[in-house]
Symmetry: D2
Subunit: 287 residues, 4 copies
């Protein structure tokens, strides 16, 4: 019994290879997390367990896919970045995105009990994530994308911190707090926090203010000697053989994946960790 | 602190809306399940627990997304079908695929312990799935896609059943069994099964021979009266308002989602369940 | 001297094959024809020479590409239709569109002098066209597309006829005529034409009211016997070999390409010319 | 008479905006020019009139679209390049490609008689062109694309020059010449040309050996002072307003479009004409 009669349907699949020599960002977002945070009683404005769980799942994704060079997470979203020289899955959009979404989801659900021992998952109300890939032609574009997410983290966190203080400590209704915050700028919110609640926003935890940066750790470079961060991707399209790719993957697996809460808008972060933008593994830290 | 300086990076997202008035098939596949089945000692050639787990996860996906009209699963793959009139997520490819992949993964991991109580998951070796969407312009194309998968199920299962009999019961090496089966047709394999192992393939369980069909159950139609299955999608693009869509979703949620192991190549299955191809909910079965 | 060092740049070309088993409509539009009609003194509201030139160029495109089954033109736009079974240029979007745009432009420029003997082209003010392809999954969608263009032709022509009568015969300024027509319906315009200028719109030339339909002529079918126009494309994807395609092309080249100004919204046009939607050449008219 | 009933068909058009901040190359190719060169008796191996006609049409395209920064032509193909900051037609693929293809075709047909006064065009055997767009993320990729085409020009011209000498002067049959050239390298062909026909390939005309480069002429920069060619596009996505775009277009229209036959593989060409890669108009040459 041959299958040839029906096999023509395979011809309807359309290719979705991402443009070569571009940065690939896969961003995933929690689906309906507003409802979910209510159901499982997430702490407001930030639930440390939830963020740690996000980070733990992201670390597993980074370990599973050594082609990833950096990831950045805030709230219920995470952005994973592939280098322009990446050839994983022949750069097929769907394959890259679904693999990350599924691997992340698997670890998130699996690890849930470790982070929420008192709030077991209740089917069918399980966490899930959607995702999309965006490509960026230049390193500047990629840096701007990362800055965009971190600025967003700051803006949202300042708002949320102020809002929930007004509600939880200030006894205001959600609507009243929302109303008062409408049109305020950062300085206004800082003042509300300080004057009404004695809170200096600068002293808030870095994980809330900066989000979480996940990457492989090698020996940091001395910024002064600054061997100029290369703007152009160092590895050229088509010049990395399958064997070389496999070798690079092995090297990267040896590096530790770390979670940091630091500024990624200024140059320093990138200059001291040149392997992230160059795509070339650095020196492993001395024991 | 405005975010406008970096927001230009949003312009790099490219639209991925699927062509209107086409059937959307989202097929997901287990990633590296060959290794996984070894690690968790899946029974060969078919592990009933694993198939039941796949089906349970698929049922949850069907319940979560009432826009789905049918799903078909075999081995570690599952195909989910949206009607041509579907407007879910504005038919965005990435959103549809990642939502299904993530929801399926979440339930699969969550339910694992119920189906494999003696083989708990061991991180980082968690199951994950990739996925892709394909659109089909005509109902005949969709029917042919479904037939393609079911014929494939049959071909693979006959091969695997024979192969594993030769290895497990016949004491042959994998290589020898593979060698002997090379070039054989269905009749040859049936004969090997019958003559050497006394097995009549027709008596094998339907779930292995036919795969699993998942759909909403309404009152079956009498085939004789056959009100001719409409070839053209019954609901026209643009004629279904958001309110109507929500109403349809509610109606569909009332129907029971069932798992069947039946022929979906012949017309009968589709003629008796006209709601699947018409996109119009049927009559709920009398209590 | 090998070229391999630079050949990697070929990998950046992205595939653009159109979905199989769908109707392909390539619509071209005059670029900046408003200015062009002024420069070359086109008659208002309709310039018969200009329409005849459009039609002549369209006929040449139809002859050059026997895979085309019908074309429809109005004003400075033309829509060319390929059958769902069409495999020309492997259905590559760019190739199909640019071939039609370029062939049309070549004939339009070449034939200009025959239709405008007193207004020779003045470089660099040459006519040019842009174009795009759209695919339609069902025959009903294709029919609706054609109806859309013909309704548009009617709406625009009634407006333009009335407007230019008011300006050219009625001595009104463009602005005044525009102002008065704002918000009017068809009946109002018909009345203006009749009461002020003694014109019965129904007696206007068909080419202005209906646009131009271009197709291959075979023996008309008797509508009464009506062998039901097939809604589904008659030729299945993948079932037409290269040899058969070439044979079909030869058959089609034998048919005369005709220009008609008739209703294509109602069924009759399509029922009497079943070869257009079936993709199967009809019977050549008896000599 | 409203058109709303059919207007839903507009929703089937799919967006085709090219990735921002990338170089856009539109390459057009003569359709069936092999036959065409026979019909109109083009001189072998190169027909100077034909190349001059190609160049004249390309110059008109450059003048018509000031957003173009450079073009390169060889044989019956031409590549037109838009800068990464280009916003013309919102970077819609189809619109950009068809506009170039159509404008080029119009001028090519219009100018034919000036270049081939003794071989008037014979309908329906008119020249036409197809085209496609490819985007390149980095300036290095764009430079490599240009080098690829110029190396190709050299390889083909050396081959054709040798081949046609052997046939036209050497009295060999096409097959014999082809046979002898199979597997030869450049040195071999140079030797055949020199030993048998007394031709020093280096003395061949530059237009044949190098192809044609078309660009806007400003004051050349002194290479020594070399203000380092910027690798990164100088104009950032989203930072060029519509007004600024229009201003830039006007400035560019003032520059003369020139045709050159020079090396574009080495750096010198680009360093002396920094406006091509920077996207910023240079200084107009002193009168």
């Amino acid at each position: 019994m041959a299958n040839s009669k029906y096999e023509y349907v395979k011809a309807f699949e359309q290719p979705d290879v991402l443009l070569p020599n571009t940065w690939i960002v896969v961003r995933i977002d929690g689906r309906g997390f507003h409802k979910l945070t209510d159901r499982y009683n997430f702490t407001k404005p930030n639930d440390r367990r939830a963020l740690d769980l996000m980070n733990a799942a992201a670390v597993e994704v980074m370990k599973d896919l050594p082609d990833l060079c950096i990831a950045y997470g805030v709230s219920d979203e995470y952005s994973f970045v592939f280098h322009p020289s990446c050839q994983l899955f022949e750069r097929r959009n769907g394959k890259l995105v679904t693999t990350i979404v599924s691997t992340f989801t698997a670890h998130y659900v699996y690890l849930w009990n470790s982070y929420f021992p008192d709030s077991p998952l209740q089917s069918p109300h399980l966490p899930s994530f959607d995702g999309r890939a965006v490509v960026y032609p230049s390193t500047q574009n990629l840096r701007d994308y990362m800055s965009w997410r971190q600025v967003d983290c700051h803006i949202n966190n300042l708002y949320n911190t102020t809002f929930w203080m007004m509600v939880l400590k200030g006894g205001m209704s959600n609507t009243d707090a929302e109303q008062e915050l409408k049109g305020t700028v950062s300085a206004d919110k800082n003042e509300i926090l300080f004057k009404r609640f004695g809170i200096n926003y600068n002293n808030e935890e870095e994980i809330y203010k900066k989000g979480s940066v996940v990457y492989r750790q090698y020996q940091l470079e001395d910024v002064k000697s600054k061997t100029t961060v290369q703007e152009e991707p160092a590895l050229q399209e088509g010049q990395v053989s399958k064997t070389q790719q496999e070798k690079l993957r092995k090297l990267r697996r040896k590096a530790q994946v770390v979670v940091d809460h630091v500024d990624i808008i200024k140059d320093e972060f990138w200059e001291r960790r040149p392997w992230i933008l160059s795509g070339k593994p650095g020196k492993l830290p001395a024991e």
